[in-house]
């Protein structure tokens, strides 16, 4: 049991409030249980300031912010970090996430003062290197996709989807087709697709998947009409398959007066091998934190630049670089900002560093290795696991399984995934795409060696055999080797505790 420096007992009385456990598997208290309002790890000159310029708005309410000295803060956040799995420590076979290696040269370059210590609004004449970098990144993205323009500024993939769909909406309005209020989205699509369409006021009309997991051009043609503004497709699709009729679909979409939004989350499978512009797409966001190796950081920051066809280029949101200048105010048909300032420069530096390192040849090889690795896993696992689309042939960069191989075993996809944790792996993507029952989507990326893939496959095969042999307890009890057992998510939602609360109320601070 630990006390904070003012002698107040810490925590809520549960055993986990104490700093127990070895440093290799710590039980770490919350910051507010170990820090206090007097400790600080930053030395600053003490100044007092009068009220002359504060308008009577000086703070009276308590801050109640816990502080730590530097060694305490270091220990707290190092110990907490040890509770995290990470790509540096093991494989993430997460379908649709592209958890590839995060090169450290990216981090070194992003921290150069000429990139990190420049302000978005300092005179443009003083940041010509930054504009040049943005131009170069734009060039790589447009060349890899064969598109006419790119809006670099969206801060995440979903943000890029929003910007791309806004451009489509604006293009329709410009043509006098504002009445088109429907967007077609396959049932297999990632949730951000229908969410984005609905966000912009569209009615989402689902397109069913074929038995082999792909989109049927005939179904699309039947759904197209004078009320359809756009289709949103992912290619390769969320089942890990290249849409074979995509060119046909794009042509039909255009003929019906609609536009083609492509979700570029799976671009890692085809970069340097296929150019989406050649397929007829009008807008596609690219996840720099997936395909171009910028780190996931525990949930962000991301970056979602969106490439645009010639038809949509005039509508690209500001700001963008033109002739060594930043065009910051919407002119012509260009849309207004989707974010303050200039976008995710820190991620552009990282992504461009990666592109220069790999080169066009390396990027193509990476795509080929990503596809090779996924097919290797599929080949090694498809006898023991169940492949939903038996005649699909080769997959692209991710292999999809369903849970029919677990039928009668008492083990669900969720249980299986939790047991994989005990084997030392982060689980694969579960229950996505929705079109397959109990989906398990496995994307190794090109970063995994054959040795790692073999070890992974062996664990997966061992688990499958055990499940079929009826050893359900191993799965339903899992994980047992992680810092925490399964967590009660129902309780978290029913009784939301979203911040730390002190056990005794803080006496109101005297003025």
């Amino acid at each position: 049991m630990s006390m904070n420096t003012q002698g107040r007992p810490t925590g809520t009385g549960t055993s986990s409030a104490a700093a127990t456990g070895s440093s290799l598997l710590p039980n770490e208290p919350i910051l507010f249980e170990i820090g206090d309002t007097e400790h600080t790890g930053v030395d600053l000159p003490e100044v007092s300031v009068g009220d002359d310029f504060l308008g009577g708005f000086r703070r009276k309410s308590p801050l109640d912010l816990a502080g730590l000295t530097e060694p305490e803060a270091m220990r707290h956040y190092v110990r907490l970090s040890r509770l995290n799995y990470s790509i540096d420590s093991g494989m993430y076979p997460l379908g649709s996430c592209t958890m590839k290696h995060n090169p450290r040269l990216n981090e070194k370059m992003a921290r150069l003062p000429g990139f990190a210590d420049i302000h978005p609004l300092q005179p443009v004449s003083t940041v010509q290197g930054a504009l040049e970098l943005m131009n170069e990144l734009a060039h790589w993205l447009m060349t890899l996709t064969n598109t006419a323009a790119v809006c670099l500024t969206p801060k995440a993939g979903a943000h890029g989807e929003m910007a791309g769909m806004m451009a489509i909406r604006a293009a329709q309005v410009a043509k006098g087709e504002a009445h088109r209020n429907v967007v077609l989205v396959p049932e297999s699509a990632h949730g951000t697709n229908p969410a984005t369409a609905a966000f912009l006021g569209y009615t989402v009309k689902p397109i069913p998947a074929r038995a082999d997991g792909t989109v049927d051009a005939a179904a699309v043609k039947a759904a197209l009409g004078p009320d359809v503004a756009a289709i949103m497709l992912t290619n390769p699709n969320t089942c890990g398959l290249f849409e074979p009729q995509i060119i046909d679909i794009a042509a039909a979409v255009h003929e019906a007066g609609a536009y083609f939004y492509c979700d570029g989350a799976n671009f890692n499978a085809i970069m340097g091998v296929v150019r989406p512009g050649d397929l007829g797409i009008d807008a596609m966001h690219i996840n720099l934190h997936k395909t171009f190796s910028t780190p996931h950081g525990g949930g962000g920051p991301g970056a979602g630049p969106v490439v645009l066809s010639a038809a949509l280029a005039p509508f690209a949101p500001v700001p963008f670089v033109r002739d060594g200048q930043l065009v910051e105010h919407a002119e012509g048909q260009h849309l207004g900002r989707v974010t303050a300032f200039n976008g995710q420069m820190g991620m552009y530096v990282r992504a461009l560093t990666y592109m220069l390192s790999h080169g066009g040849d390396g990027l193509a090889q990476a795509a080929k290795d990503a596809v090779l690795n996924a097919n290797y896993i599929k080949a090694r696992l498809s006898r023991a696991f169940s492949v939903p689309f038996a005649d699909a042939g080769y997959c692209m960069h991710e292999a999809l399984f369903d849970d029919s191989f677990l039928e009668g075993s008492g083990v669900t996809t969720l249980d299986f995934a939790k047991a994989l944790i005990d084997e030392g792996y982060h689980p694969m993507t579960m229950y996505f795409p929705l079109v397959v029952h109990g989906a398990m989507l496995v994307e190794p990326t090109e970063s995994e060696s054959k040795q790692t893939l073999d070890a992974f496959c062996e664990s997966m095969l061992d688990l499958a055999a055990d499940a079929k042999a009826g050893n359900a307890a191993r799965f339903t009890a899992a994980p047992t080797k992680a810092p925490r057992r399964r967590l009660d998510e129902t309780r978290a939602a029913r009784q939301p505790r979203l911040k730390w609360e002190r056990p005794d109320p803080l006496p109101q601070a005297a003025e």
Partner: protein, 451 residues
């Protein structure tokens, strides 16, 4: 290629297991017309040292903040970030971890987010905060949409003191809706927003300190909008100000959105930054973005999970509160670590120091003939009016290596009222020498000596 583990032999072995003759066979589903027959027209792979040389050359063409007097603010502020912060966020387990969807192996990230949410709630004086947004501007747009959902009303009024970029983002998100009233910029710190509130108003958006540095009367705004059944959204672009100024929550704010960049995160030419959003308990279910909550595991140990996910896109799809998937994880971590190093004692001291530097700056500016200081109130940022257009003066001073703030005309073009204005910020990094040099250069520029 140093990032690709396979040898040619291994590739061949794997192809044999797959049963394919060549790697190209795996792309059989791709229409032949779409399969590239020659490599893309891009440079070939490059060793680290050559990539580094190229990137250094690009970086070398940019004038960094540390290279001379620096007064640029306007929504992004140059503060000192302790060495501990940048060291910690580069640890593998923080930098290269995925979103904490599998909580058992993500307790580090989740507990940190719980600490972050607590810090943001305390700073803003609100009941609950989310696990961060992309940035302050998109958080503001999301707050506006949230207010509309909560009140089931449409009309939104944006204060003339709101950062012009934030105003532009809200306008883009609302697709130039006629129910969006965007008041003209108010460099003098006064606006008529309270007179414009009516029964149709879902929310008003007030920024304090505002874009021009003025401190606004949040309580008065709260009373006015609440009387008409609407909500108050308060925007804070300089989060350090909350170490000295009253919490918006204590003054009646319903939703508070901030740019958190000042704590833990470098300027980075505009991103990545970190948006903060906090609100009242009763509004939680309409709040966008990720939320981290406390619970227990199967052994009864305290643990943390992402929660209330039925608001989000991966569950509700087209019925989600927003399309957001990502938060600004690593930037939120940097914020949390820096804020824990500061603590209350450090943050209040930092805030006082920023204000003291700003007072020093204001005195130097007022001493330059021809310069008029518009602010009666400020935290660490202020606006001056010159007798001539400001943009050329700022450009001139930049050649003398003094970055003298932002000419307002850059954000508000074609407006005679804005043409002669500069917004300048001072922080704990601003020295007396910097301020004196600024004063001298301004004096010279306005008296024709610097031409």
């Amino acid at each position: 290629m140093r990032y690709l583990p396979h040898s040619a032999a291994e590739r061949a072995e794997m192809l044999a297991v797959i049963g394919a003759k060549a790697a190209e066979d795996l792309f059989g589903a791709v229409p032949r017309s779409a399969l590239l027959t020659k490599p893309v027209d891009l440079p070939k792979h490059s060793p680290e040292f050559l990539v580094e040389a190229k990137m250094r050359a690009l970086a070398g063409k940019n004038r960094a903040g540390a290279d001379g007097p620096f007064f640029v603010g306007a929504g992004a502020y140059r503060h000192h970030v302790p060495a501990t912060v940048d060291h910690l966020i580069q640890r593998s387990e923080w930098l290269t971890a995925y979103t904490p969807y599998q909580p058992e192996v993500s307790q580090g990230t989740l507990q940190m987010l719980f600490e972050f949410q607590t810090q943001v709630a305390h700073l803003t004086g609100m009941d609950v905060a989310n696990a961060s947004m992309y940035d302050g501007s998109t958080a503001t747009a999301e707050a506006v949409l949230m207010a509309r959902r909560l009140t089931r009303k449409d009309k939104i009024i944006l204060s003339g003191g709101l950062h012009p970029h934030y105003r532009d983002v809200v306008t883009t998100y609302l697709d130039h809706s006629p129910s969006l009233v965007s008041l003209p910029a108010s460099p003098e710190g006064q606006g008529d927003i309270l007179d414009r509130i009516d029964d149709d108003t879902a929310a008003i958006v007030i920024q304090t300190p505002d874009f021009f540095g003025h401190l606004r009367d949040v309580k008065r705004a709260a009373d006015a909008i609440h009387a008409k059944g609407g909500l108050l959204i308060v925007v804070v672009t300089e989060v350090v100000s909350l170490g000295l100024l009253e919490a918006p929550g204590a003054l009646g704010a319903d939703i508070v959105v901030c740019e958190g960049q000042s704590i833990g995160n470098s300027l980075n030419f505009g991103g990545p930054y970190v948006g903060l959003m906090a609100t009242k308990k009763e509004f939680i279910r309409q709040m966008p973005g990720r939320l981290c909550g406390e619970t227990v595991d199967a052994d009864g140990n305290r643990g943390f999970v992402l929660t209330l996910s039925t608001r989000e896109q991966h569950i509700r799809r087209e019925k989600a509160t927003s399309n957001i998937c990502t938060n600004s994880g690593l930037c939120a971590l940097a914020f949390t670590i820096h804020m824990s190093l500061l603590g209350e004692a450090g943050l209040t001291r930092l805030a006082r120091l920023n204000h003291e530097r700003a007072i020093r700056l204001s005195k130097a500016l007022r001493a330059v003939p021809g310069v008029e200081l518009l602010n009666k109130t400020f935290f660490n940022e202020m606006t001056i009016r010159l007798p001539v257009p400001a943009a050329p003066i700022v450009e001139l001073l930049a050649k003398a290596d003094v970055l003298a703030g932002v000419p307002v005309s850059r954000l508000i073009p074609n407006d005679p009222a804005a043409e002669n204005l500069i917004v300048l910020a001072a922080t704990e990094l601003t020295t007396d020498t910097d301020i004196d040099m600024l004063g001298e250069c301004l004096h010279a520029a306005l008296n024709g000596d610097g031409a």
